[in-house]
């Protein structure tokens, strides 16, 4: 199933056969481009960027590399190939054929799911739009732009579903996706984490490590959906999302690597001294981990949620790796442990499994996040340095759900407001941490050069040599 690039909107959904839909999307396209000019990567429209473009959704076809000016990037609509006779794998409709159209009774919920997912995509582009001005290398600049154009494509993926399946409501929602602005007091993005600033590259790497991983788990849950077009769209998005997490994990790893090199050379672990040497001390990196992990953990929603139960029972949103779960895929009589503060301590208690699905996805996410933290620790161990990062407890610094606002330490101890006051500057980035990291942000764009605070990558994009000119400036 190749993608037709001759059409105004590249697609593999035979858009030309549905003239009304095609016209509606062709009407939305210039609005999208105008949004990209206003809110996309700042000052970048004339750059030739070595980008990956999908030329088909087959494994061999979706990693085609070439130089592209970003406004000319072929954003389009790509669905994974349909699985023949696919059947609903969970919930009340288990065993029935998947839906190609939206059942009337689920319209509102599906629209809400798609809009919430779709809103995060342009939001992250907005959050990251100034980062290009302080890229630590050409390699990183290119990776940032790749992430940005793919978030743009993910927006297209959701807008296609809205236009194709939700009529006038869908078109209005698609317009609104271009009108909300990250961090705007009057018209903010839907989810809190997507209104936070991404002021520096360490934040960007943390964001792509943690927050794009939330994206992975949300998309994976939607890829199980009984609504087949949503499942097929999100499957393909997942393959792109992988690159974003790679940027995050390897970016943090390279930052740690560089710090450890300097620590070993200078035989010091004194943060002040390391800062004078121009690298980011490990405790500061830990505080960034704590912040981004906790903000992302909130994205999974309330621990006990009747919406989550409804979405599951009605087949709209499954669990992570639904098909690998050995249970009845109904969950009606099952329970799942959720956290609550009881007698001054965090305690687990049983909640109906259906209502605890957000919590379950959050736990899956925590497990996945921990694996990367372990690997960061191995970099430190290799240098023989006695320090290790931890992932903060999932109850730490929560703003959503029953744990919101409680004072809980990164290790999961319930503490007093006074204790929090005394310790939180060691747990979360302080103004001075952020100012210091900001002070390191200087643009480095000579081939083969990297900012002092970050190590070069182990392999180039598409195995290009270190000297490769990933971005050509006009």
């Amino acid at each position: 199933m190749s993608i037709n690039y001759n059409e105004t909107i590249p697609n593999n959904v035979n858009l030309a056969s549905d003239k009304t839909l095609q016209r509606a999307l062709e009407h939305w396209q210039p609005e999208f481009l105008s949004w990209w000019q206003d809110m996309g990567p700042e000052g970048s429209s004339q750059f030739d960027v070595y980008l990956r473009t999908a030329v088909s959704v087959e494994p061999s076809g979706w990693a085609h590399f070439d130089y592209v000016k970003m406004p000319d990037y072929r954003w389009g609509i790509f669905l994974n190939p349909a699985e023949k006779d696919r059947r609903i794998s969970f919930g009340d409709h288990q065993g029935q054929p998947v839906w190609q159209e939206v059942p009337g009774e689920y319209r509102a919920n599906l629209r809400r799911i798609i809009v919430t997912q779709g809103d995060t995509e342009p939001a992250s582009v907005e959050q990251q739009r100034h980062l290009g001005l302080t890229a630590p290398s050409l390699y990183d600049l290119r990776n940032l732009f790749q992430v940005n154009v793919e978030e743009g494509r993910h927006l297209w993926a959701m807008v296609y579903l809205l236009h194709r399946h939700f009529g006038r409501d869908g078109r209005e929602e698609a317009e609104a996706l271009l009108q909300r602005r990250s961090g705007d007091a009057d018209n903010p993005r839907i989810l809190t984490a997507f209104n936070e600033r991404t002021p520096d590259w360490l934040s960007f790497f943390m964001f792509t490590y943690f927050t794009d991983r939330d994206g992975k788990f949300q998309l994976a849950a939607l890829a199980e959906s009984a609504f087949d077009p949503l499942a097929r769209t999100t499957r393909f998005m997942l393959t792109e999302e992988a690159h974003h997490m790679f940027v995050g994990e390897s970016g943090v790893a390279r930052t740690i690597q560089r710090t450890c090199e300097v620590m070993a050379e200078e035989k010091t672990d004194d943060p002040e001294r390391l800062r004078r040497l121009g690298v980011i001390d490990l405790p500061t990196i830990q505080r960034y981990i704590n912040f981004h992990s906790s903000v992302t953990v909130d994205l999974f929603g309330s621990d006990v949620s009747s919406n989550a139960a409804t979405f599951y029972t009605t087949g709209l949103k499954g669990r992570y790796e639904e098909s690998k779960q050995a249970d009845d895929h109904l969950l009606k009589d099952m329970s799942y442990q959720v956290l609550a503060v009881d007698g001054g301590q965090l305690r687990e208690s049983d909640a109906p499994a259906l209502n605890a699905l957000n919590e379950r996805l959050r736990d899956d996410f925590m497990k996945d996040s921990q694996a990367g933290v372990n690997r960061w620790n191995r970099i430190i161990q290799k240098q023989g340095i006695d320090f290790s990062f931890y992932l903060p407890h999932k109850a730490f610094h929560r703003q959503i759900g029953p744990l919101a606002g409680l004072k809980i330490s990164p290790s999961g101890q319930v503490i007093s407001a006074a204790e929090w006051e005394a310790s939180s500057s060691g747990w979360l980035p302080t103004e001075s941490d952020r100012n210091y990291v900001q002070s390191l942000m200087r643009r480095v764009v000579e081939p083969e050069k990297f900012a002092n605070w970050i190590a070069p990558p182990q392999v180039g994009v598409n195995r290009q040599p270190a000297s490769f000119q990933y971005v050509r400036f006009a």
Binding site: P59, A63, L238, T239, E241, H243, F246, Q370, R375, F468
Partner: protein, 407 residues
């Protein structure tokens, strides 16, 4: 059948140091060979059929790792799940008790001594597998084609021989050689020495994605001094019929390998059957053009007459923008003698361009006689452009950009 083919396999592994556990490979794998735990993503040896579907979607490159293993000792899923880094390639020679024939070592040293030394492989070359099959356990291939390349009237009989390896794992790269063990004994009653031939086909087979290789073999009828002699190896090879079995050792060669990085150019200078590795490299570039490896290709190829030039027909059909072909003929009636060095002089500008381009690699292959002439021509054209070949040559060797194989 040889024992080794039942014992050796190429195992697909994922580098846990680079993998970010994004799950793309597992989602992509059409046969469900990829699995994971909280720590690592790993490949099931018994299920992976090396189809490559997971390779390009991997955002990190962690997926593209392979180890030559004994099937009985393939890394299990459980073992892979404990890794923090990939194990080194265990030399199979020790396990297979295979042996590099002395003759191979001697010939290889002799072949690469020209032009002042031996370069290592280009940095971007594929990683060669060597010496998988030794004298004690040769691989057995079946002849699937034997085509005369020179026209019937021509004095030289040069043949294109295609060998099918069935299900034997015999991975090769362009520029590598194989050894052939002719059956029977020589006049002293000893087994025939191993004969070395350059492989003329690219890494993915004479026919793409078939497990076969091709060799370019010239029937030897006179020795170096011009005395009539029937070469035991070449006559055996040239007389092979479709269906015959041939015993192979190797593959050999770790240095005479083509660069694979984007923008890498190749300057090829050859005579006669020295064209075999050049054909392999050219064909790989042609098949793989979507990978954007090239770089320019420039070929100087000498023979006595067009009728005696192996692969003359297919060469003439390659588009000019793909490869810059320069053919020299030394014995065309009524025309002055022309050698590759004469054409190198005529194309001096272009050749010097390539000599100074750090992404361009030079390969020379053919009879020993050609070496001095080529060296002189390169010296002269450099001098004409104010450059000093005597200092450029060692520098190129050091950069692994100059590769010579002559015999």
């Amino acid at each position: 059948m040889a024992v080794a083919e039942d014992r050796v396999a190429r195992q697909h592994l994922i580098d846990p140091e680079i993998c970010i556990r994004c799950n793309t490979c597992e989602a992509t794998c059409p046969v469900g060979a990829v699995t994971h735990d909280d720590r690592n993503y790993v490949v099931r040896f018994d299920l992976c059929n090396a189809c490559g579907a997971c390779i390009s979607p991997c955002p990190t490159g962690a997926i593209d790792n392979w180890r030559q293993v004994l099937k009985s000792k393939a890394y299990s899923v459980e073992e892979q799940l404990t890794w923090d880094s990939l194990p080194a390639q265990v030399p199979l020679e020790t396990e297979l008790a295979s042996d590099i024939p002395e003759e191979v070592t001697r010939l290889t040293a002799l072949a690469s001594e020209g032009l002042g030394g031996n370069s290592s492989a280009p940095w971007s070359a594929g990683k060669p597998q060597v010496n998988l099959f030794g004298l004690s356990q040769p691989a057995v291939a079946t002849v699937s084609g034997n085509l005369r390349l020179t026209s019937e009237g021509a004095e030289n009989d040069i043949r294109h021989i295609v060998l099918d390896l069935g299900d034997t794992v015999f991975p090769v790269l362009e520029g590598q050689t194989v050894g052939v063990l002719p059956p029977g004994t020589d006049s002293h009653g000893r087994a025939h020495r191993v004969r070395l031939y350059s492989i003329a086909s690219p890494r993915n087979g004479e026919r793409p994605n078939y497990n076969n290789i091709s060799l370019t073999v010239k029937r030897v009828t006179v020795d170096h001094d011009g005395h009539a002699v029937a070469g035991a190896g070449s006559n055996y090879m040239c007389d092979l019929k479709v269906g015959d079995e041939v015993r192979l050792v190797g593959p050999y060669g770790e240095n005479f390998l083509m660069p694979n990085h984007v923008g890498s150019s190749i300057l090829m200078i050859c005579t006669g059957t020295g064209s075999a590795p050049m054909r392999a490299m050219t064909e790989w570039r042609r098949r793989n053009s979507s990978a954007n490896e090239g770089g320019r290709l420039m070929l100087f190829f000498g023979a006595r007459t067009p009728e005696e030039l192996p692969y003359f027909g297919p060469l003439a059909r390659l588009p000019k923008e793909f490869i810059d072909v320069n053919l020299a003929f030394s014995r065309v009636p009524g025309k002055p003698k022309q050698h590759v060095q004469d054409l190198i002089r005529q194309r001096a500008d272009r050749v010097v361009d390539l000599l100074v381009d750090e992404d361009a690699y030079v390969f020379v292959c053919g009879l020993k006689d050609m070496e001095q002439g080529v060296d002189d021509a390169l010296r002269d054209i450099c001098r004409d452009q104010g450059r000093d070949w005597a200092s450029m040559r060692p520098r190129m060797l050091e950069q692994n950009r100059l590769h010579v194989e002559t015999y």
